[in-house]
């Protein structure tokens, strides 16, 4: 009994990889089946076609779907709109998150920091749909925003059901995903670095530009991976709060699947994947993964 136990533990002590394998087998299996297999299936199906008469999928390999995407001007503008708004959301979130993260990491005491954390995370506890609908009510022509503007004697802002609304709502919804990594990066900068900069004659702006921002940029990029990819893949907010020309890649994918044009949907869905791949490569270059 005892020797069996000694041999058993001894085996895992000598062969570290066996222990790691045992530990990682369940998640790796799930990951391979759920994540990778579905991605591979998506990628493969993008090279199939649909018989226009029977609506059946034909497993004949070709790149017609990609050719159609390349030649369709409407698809270009949809892709650029999706990427553009995702980028604009990311920039807005970074600008909003930095001062808030700075307050939480370097100024707030224990109590106000805890309060700020709850305030940042609280929206995540409620449903995504509810939050989009609330924004719809706020931005509607007869909504809270215009009512308030009217009360203080300003002209109405008709941003409901436009790209502005989509940008605004995305910025709000994904903000926590930017604040947390930025907060983490700011917290890791020792006070003495900022003191040294001031000691050497630099004012607040120079210290921010030359010391604080370069040292926290990996955190900002880590956050931008979340905000950018989450916006890139979304279709609900453009659908509910956007206008006629607010279609995202996700909306086209959704419509095509509903029309049983799965292969074309798969091809268009591969575009944000490729964009994200390029983005991650750049982010890795800038050292973002050390801050995650």
């Amino acid at each position: 009994m005892r020797t069996a136990r000694v041999r058993f533990t001894g085996f895992f002590w000598r062969h570290r990889w066996a222990k790691a394998l045992l530990l990682l087998a369940p998640p790796l299996l799930a990951f391979a089946l759920v994540y990778l297999a579905s991605l591979v299936a998506l990628f493969l199906s993008s090279f199939w076609t649909v018989d226009p008469f029977t609506s059946e999928i034909r497993h004949a390999w070709n790149i017609d779907n990609y050719r159609q995407l390349w030649q369709g001007g409407a698809y270009h503008s949809i892709a650029f709109r999706t990427i553009g708004i995702a980028a604009a959301v990311t920039v807005a979130d970074a600008i909003l998150a930095f001062p808030l993260g700075y307050f939480m990491a370097r100024i707030a005491g224990g109590r106000s920091r805890a309060f700020a954390f709850v305030a940042v995370l609280l929206p995540l506890w409620s449903s995504y749909l509810i939050r989009v609908y609330i924004w719809r009510l706020i931005l509607d022509h007869n909504g809270v925003l215009n009512w308030t503007l009217q009360k203080i004697g300003l002209p109405a802002a008709n941003i409901g059901y436009t790209n502005w609304a989509v940008w605004l709502i995305f910025t709000y919804i994904w903000l926590p995903f930017m604040i947390l990594p930025v907060y983490g990066a700011l917290e890791r900068v020792p006070d003495s670095f900022l003191e040294a900069s001031r000691d050497l004659g630099a004012g607040g702006w120079t210290t921010f530009r030359r010391v604080l921002l370069p040292l926290t940029l990996p955190g900002v990029i880590a956050g931008s991976i979340f905000t950018f990819s989450l916006t890139l893949g979304d279709y609900i907010t453009p659908l509910l709060a956007g206008g006629a020309s607010s279609q995202f890649i996700g909306n086209v994918v959704y419509d095509n699947i509903n029309n049983q044009l799965t292969p074309f949907a798969a091809a268009f869905a591969a575009v944000p994947l490729a964009v994200m791949g390029v983005y991650l490569l750049i982010a890795r270059r800038l050292g973002a993964f050390e801050a995650l």
Partner: protein, 347 residues
């Protein structure tokens, strides 16, 4: 761009005899904790001045008040006779060497050293030359292209020094700069820093908890305890004439006796230890013996009360001889001029 205009211009006007640093009634507390409880200090131009004290005694807070990183709750900070109590750190004509060096990790060694000059708008070519000259001066020639992580602790320490003095401050503040170095390197750096200070002719304000360091390097020193200064003086003065029990104990060994209602202190090396039969001095028993290489340290319990530490050079004694003396009866004698009367604790 930040300039030193308010201080640089005023410095020359006010230089006539004004101390490099003058603190008046400085107080600073953090909530209920009083870090500095009323400090007055005048540090002369060109002095190597040490703030000595145990951790939490207020020496570092005092240094940070001079640099401007802490705002005093009360009191006045003057540099070269100019009131800078409400002036931002970037506008004060002082530079600091930080305890953790605080080198910017994303910049090269040269960029770190050039930082202050760059902020002041000096041309790239000029500041390159200045930085390289300064790196040579701290004996790090040719290391400008390295990143701080590629350097050893001692090298980083010297980069931090170069980054501060390249700006030519009239006052350099050093916050336990040698604390993280090993003993041998620390002793080398003590000599180097002292020579550098004399060479530059600027004021050094140096914070340490190491009494030996303070005695070795300082022109004058202030001994801190619980947010107050207990004594200011030259090293010899503070060592040989401690004014309070705390100073006697913190700077050197606490050798305090109460005789006839007076409290006196005697330095261990000033005590002569002889056989009991000698019949001169106070009788006692050796309680413990510590052999420390160059010297042997004895703790002697006296028959008439109290305990004294005695240090003897190991001229002819071996460690065996020394250690066998435990429990021996001895007599201790000293010259009256080597004893100093001190006040009670806290007076």
């Amino acid at each position: 761009m930040a300039t030193l205009a308010p201080t640089a211009a005023d410095t020359e006007a006010a230089a006539g005899g004004a101390p490099a640093v003058r603190l008046t009634g400085i107080r600073r507390s953090y909530g209920a904790v009083v870090a500095v409880a009323g400090v007055d200090l005048a540090i002369g131009a060109g002095e190597f001045f040490t703030l000595l004290g145990p951790s939490g005694s207020g020496k570092t807070t005092t240094l940070r008040v001079i640099a401007g990183f802490e705002r005093p709750d009360a009191g006045r900070v003057e540099l070269q006779g100019v009131d800078v109590t409400h002036v931002a750190p970037s506008q004060r004509a002082v530079n600091t060497v930080f305890q953790d060096y605080a080198l910017f990790p994303h910049m090269t060694v040269a960029e770190n050293v050039e930082y202050g000059l760059r902020v002041k708008g000096m041309r790239r070519r000029d500041r390159r030359v200045r930085a390289e000259t300064m790196l040579e001066r701290v004996r790090l020639p040719g290391l400008g292209d390295r990143k701080p992580v590629q350097l050893s602790g001692g090298q980083r320490q010297r980069v931090a020094l170069a980054r501060a003095i390249v700006n030519g401050p009239p006052v350099l503040l050093l916050d336990e700069p040698l604390g993280a170095l090993d003993l041998k390197l620390r002793q080398e750096m003590q000599i180097f820093l002292k020579a550098l200070q004399q060479d530059l002719g600027i004021t050094f304000v140096y914070v340490t908890h190491d009494q030996e360091e303070a005695l070795t390097m300082s022109d004058r020193m202030a001994v801190f305890n619980e947010g107050r200064i207990e004594q200011v003086g030259t090293p010899a003065d503070v060592y040989e004439h401690p004014q309070t029990e705390f100073v006697a104990g913190f700077v050197g060994v606490s050798n305090i006796l109460e005789r006839e209602g007076r409290r006196i202190t005697i330095r261990p090396e000033k005590i002569r230890m002889s056989d009991e039969a000698a019949g001169e001095g106070e009788a006692g028993t050796i309680r413990s013996v510590v052999y420390v290489g160059m010297v042997t340290r004895y703790v002697v319990g006296l028959d008439s009360g109290g305990e004294l530490v005695v240090v003897r050079q190991n001229l002819e004694t071996s460690s065996q001889d020394a250690l066998s003396e435990q429990g021996k009866r001895v007599r201790l004698s000293w010259r009256p001029e080597h004893t100093y009367e001190i006040g009670k604790e806290g007076t």
